[in-house]
Amino acid sequence: MRLVADNVSVARGGHIFFSGISFSLEAGEALVVSGPNGVGKSTFLRVLAGLLPDAEGSVKLDGAEFETAAEGAHYLGHRNGMKAELTVRENLEFWRNFMSLSDGDGSNRCVEVNEAVAMVGLDGLDHLPYGYLSAGQKRRIAMARLLTAYRPLWILDEPTAALDTQSQEMFSGLVANHLGSGGMVVAATHHALGLINTRHLVLTPDAPAVLSSDDPFAAGAPA
């Protein structure tokens, strides 16, 4: 399975940030998108997730039965997609049922709600209303959503922004696990996720996007 983006342009409200971005990502590979605030990282990720209706270019998942890349992707944006009035368990069980694939594919690769909550280190909190949790805990529950339904591609927008160091390590482990089982990750992040098989897309204002295979978090690399 591979993710192929062909000639993608990143535009919002008539303003074009970047055009002609092409790349492909093999199973087990990650793409880290970096650049200064406001350069269009989040917009680029939303284009990949199929959430911008007028985006040009094509994003496809080759070798999978998904019609669009969006259907085969988890999107973890700035907002967590959880309801404060429902308990953690109700939230996650809803997404698990709602996102389960019709043909049953991948059902052996997703975990139960209990397990997912334990994997993000919040065991025993699943009976609480989601609104009672702290910002970091809310984020970790949103990460548990990625585990309860299987998608080969994870699109992550600043996933670890509200997290302490320990939770960042926990999430790095989850991402590494996902990549190890043949998944793909596209992430905009300022924190090293400890990824090994990483490619790097550098977005700079008023310059073409540069794709490199350098480690984005190695010393001396542009951050």
Binding site: R46, G50, R79, N80, M82, K83, E93, F98, L101
Partner: protein, 219 residues
Amino acid sequence: MWALFIRDTRLSIRAGGGALIGVLFFLAVVAVIPFGVGPDLNLLARIGPAILWIGALLAALLGLDRLFQLDREDGSLDIMLMQETPMFLTVLVKCLAHWTSTGLPLIIASPVLGLFMNIDGAAMAAVAVTLLAGTPAITFIGAVGAAVSVALPRGGLLVSVLVLPLAIPVLIFGVSAVQGAIEDPAPFLPPFLILCAITLFFSVLGPFAAAAALRASSD
């Protein structure tokens, strides 16, 4: 899909969900009419079915702006848009859940509120049956308005204004079916069937148009 129905129904009855707001508004509208019109029982009985329908229509419009807005604010809508489940179906289920939690209580309350208007048993039954056939149409029409104004921070009144002209036929045929049921020369079945047809028509068009509007509004 069943999961979405249960979740939305659950949300509407939890704190701040607003399932009972519509019924309270319905009660307020109908309860003040006798005070305004005066204690003319014959007059109240004559205008009663129409007042019940107008109250139910306005109450049904009340919570519509929240149909998609909350899901958009917390990011759930993005995830729903990405699924292989067609958005049309997601919107349809959300509409059905919304109707179950806001429309159904109005129908259950309508016979009780009919007592305020001095209408007899046959008219109460006719109002309840026509509301049952007609209120889903208001939800489906409202879904389009809610989807169009989903990106506006205070789109509540705008939704009502957008939706009201399209909901007028529902009101007209609903009230004329009730008149047909309680007054002899007027027919009941033709307006009632047209009311059912309007509901069926908008149950297809509404989710379809709302899904397109939601897709276009994501940014």
